[in-house]
């Protein structure tokens, strides 16, 4: 069964050393973290690194393996519908590029399709495993300007509110025959624009109320900047190991 061992002992040594070292590090990580998840900031950086390395890949099979891996996890976690719905736009876009390339040249470059599929799958998995607010919070550690983080936090909080308000107003307009099927294009656009206009005005007015509420709670600009927790040792180790793995994957792809 292990006839490859005496034939080329180097293979055996390499696989044994890497396996047992990884085993010890993995157990150490689990012990140190107590089973807690990786810091959102580290996860975000690793995602960025992985997407960049996928973008730089020369062979189609590595991105396809990553996509297949994501697909298996999605089906296991029963989120296949969400996963496939978010893949629609990137896939259409890559087909558009493939179509242009095919029309103009005889060769078809499937690598673009594989890269887009893999990158989008990785992004979807970041979203599924990390709340957006946690990513924004952890970005202060990545030296992203505090103003951007504060505006993003506000936007994140109010996008859903205004989206619901817009839907309510549209439903109200529809109940008053505002979007009939036989209405002209200009009439529909006009009704939709009025809803948009009302939303902008209400955002302008509400911002004053929000500001007063924040001031009453002793808020001041860049207040969050002072409460930055340091990165834990286990997160640092996990980040270094995983990023080494990603870089290793890129190197293997280059030399194959």
């Amino acid at each position: 069964m292990l006839e490859w061992l005496p034939r080329d002992p180097l293979n055996g040594i390499v696989i044994s050393v890497t396996f047992f070292c990884s085993l010890i590090i993995g157990r150490y990580l689990k012990h140190r973290s107590g089973g807690k998840k990786i810091d959102p900031g580290v996860k975000f950086l690793l995602t960025f690194l992985l997407v960049i390395s996928v973008t730089m890949m020369k062979h189609w099979y590595f991105p396809m393996i990553l996509s297949a891996f994501c697909l298996i996890i999605a089906s296991k976690e029963k989120i296949l519908r969400y996963y496939s719905r978010n893949l629609i736009y990137p896939v259409i876009f890559s087909f558009f590029i493939l179509a242009i390339q095919t029309v103009s040249t005889s060769s078809i470059s499937y690598i673009i399709f594989a890269k887009v599929l893999a990158s989008s799958s990785i992004m979807i998995f970041l979203v599924l495993t990390t709340p957006r607010y946690d990513i924004l919070e952890s970005m202060s550690r990545l030296r992203i300007p505090q103003t951007i983080i504060e505006i993003s936090s506000f936007m994140e909080r109010y996008v859903r509110t205004f989206s619901d308000e817009g839907k309510t107003r549209k439903a109200a307009a529809e109940s008053r025959c505002g979007f009939r099927k036989n209405q002209s294009f200009l009439h529909k656009i006009k009704n939709l624009s009025f809803i948009g206009g009302i939303l902008i005005i209400s955002a302008f007015d509400r911002s004053d109320e929000v500001y007063r509420a924040m001031i009453s709670r002793a808020w001041r600009p860049h207040i969050q900047d002072q409460y930055r927790l340091p990165l834990s040792m286990s997160d640092k180790v996990a980040g270094i190991i995983l990023s080494s793995g990603i870089i290793g994957l890129s190197v293997i792809d280059r030399f194959l």
């Binding site: 995602t47 960025f48 997407v51 960049i52 996928v54 973008t55 730089m56 991105p63 978010n86 629609i88 736009y89 990137p90 876009f93 590029i97 179509a99 242009i100 390339q101 029309v103 103009s104 673009i112 890269k115 887009v116 599929l117 990158s119 989008s120 992004m123 979807i124 979203v127 957006r132 103003t147 951007i148 504060e150 505006i151 993003s152 506000f154 936007m155 109010y158 996008v159 205004f162 989206s163 817009g166 294009f185 656009i189 006009k190 939709l192 624009s193 009025f194 948009g196 206009g197 009302i198 939303l199 902008i200 005005i201 302008f204 911002s207 929000v210 500001y211 924040m214 001041r220 600009p221």
Partner: protein, 299 residues
């Protein structure tokens, strides 16, 4: 039409990040200055940004095709909050949109440049130029139309530069033509949408529209930028096939003893010409801008 992850080459990802970062930095500087003067500006710009983000993902009916699509939204944002803050809002919106499968993390720079920078600035400049000579609804509508068209032309250029660097002009045309069936009707829809929204807001709360304005220096610089870029683009379109330019003639006349293996030539070859030219542009612009006031005083 946002570019997804995995499409652009790494050097172009970095290039568009670099260019967009400059505009975002200036936008942040303006926002921070406003926040220092008036703290209430932070929630205001954030909430208006949230609404513009919500509006930009609404499905609006598209004429001719009978389908529906999303407006660009950045020309409208530029009219309401100003072009530089609109770039910051656009970058944040693109970051959020990357999580729902529209665009990507690595392409935020490229998408911010096409939507945030080109879309917002073209829309704003068109709006400002037409404001005093045409009705408000028309200049706002034209801002929406021009912003939408320029966004897609820029996206097509970004794709051509990254994917087909050996024949950029041909592929730029191909990608642009590929976008026309969906994007041209959408641009007309954006014209009507932006025109009606701005008209409605100006009727109810006029101060929201006129809240922002740029100084004369910035407007002159931006108009000059658009003018020079338009001349270059027109030249590129009309002079198909022969894009050698006048570099050789200038080099021969200005510096006959030029060393072809100089540090500049080698650096350009190592990092790629666009990054090299971007660096020269940034350095030249920053130094000139920094010493501009003193230079004007002396002359």
């Amino acid at each position: 039409m946002h570019i997804s992850d995995g499409i652009l080459e790494t050097q172009w990802i970095l290039f568009w990040f670099l260019i967009s970062a400059i505009f975002i930095a200036v936008g942040l500087r303006i926002i921070n200055k406003r926040i220092r003067d008036e703290t209430a500006y932070l929630p205001r710009i954030s909430l208006i940004g949230a609404v513009v983000f919500v509006i930009s993902v609404w499905h609006i009916p598209v004429p001719v095709t009978g389908s529906s699509s999303h407006p660009v939204g950045t020309p409208l944002a530029a009219i309401i909050i100003g072009p530089f803050p609109a770039v910051v809002i656009s970058a944040i919106s693109l970051f959020f949109q990357a999580f729902i499968g529209h665009g990507g993390l690595t392409t935020i720079g490229a998408n911010t440049f096409s939507m945030g920078v080109m879309g917002a600035f073209t829309g704003y400049i068109v709006y400002r130029l037409l404001k005093n000579i045409t009705p408000l609804w028309f200049c706002a509508g034209m801002a929406g139309f021009a912003g939408s068209i320029i966004t897609y032309i820029t996206t097509a250029l970004q794709l051509a530069l990254s994917l087909n660097s050996q024949n950029v002009i041909k592929y730029w045309e191909l990608y642009s033509f590929g976008f026309i069936p969906t994007q041209m009707p959408l641009a007309f829809a954006e014209f009507a949408f932006t025109a009606y929204v701005v008209k409605y807001i100006s009727n109810i709360r006029n101060e929201i529209i006129d809240a922002e304005s740029m100084d004369r220096f910035t407007i002159t610089a931006l108009v000059l930028m658009v003018f020079i870029v338009s001349i270059i683009i027109t030249g590129v379109y009309t002079g198909k096939g022969d894009l050698s330019g006048i570099d050789g003639t200038i080099e021969a006349l200005a510096s006959p003893g030029l060393n072809p293996d100089g540090i500049g030539v080698r650096l350009m070859a190592r990092f790629g010409e666009p990054l090299g030219f971007a660096f020269v542009g940034i350095a030249g612009g920053l130094i000139t801008g920094y010493y501009w006031t003193g230079f004007r005083r002396e002359t």
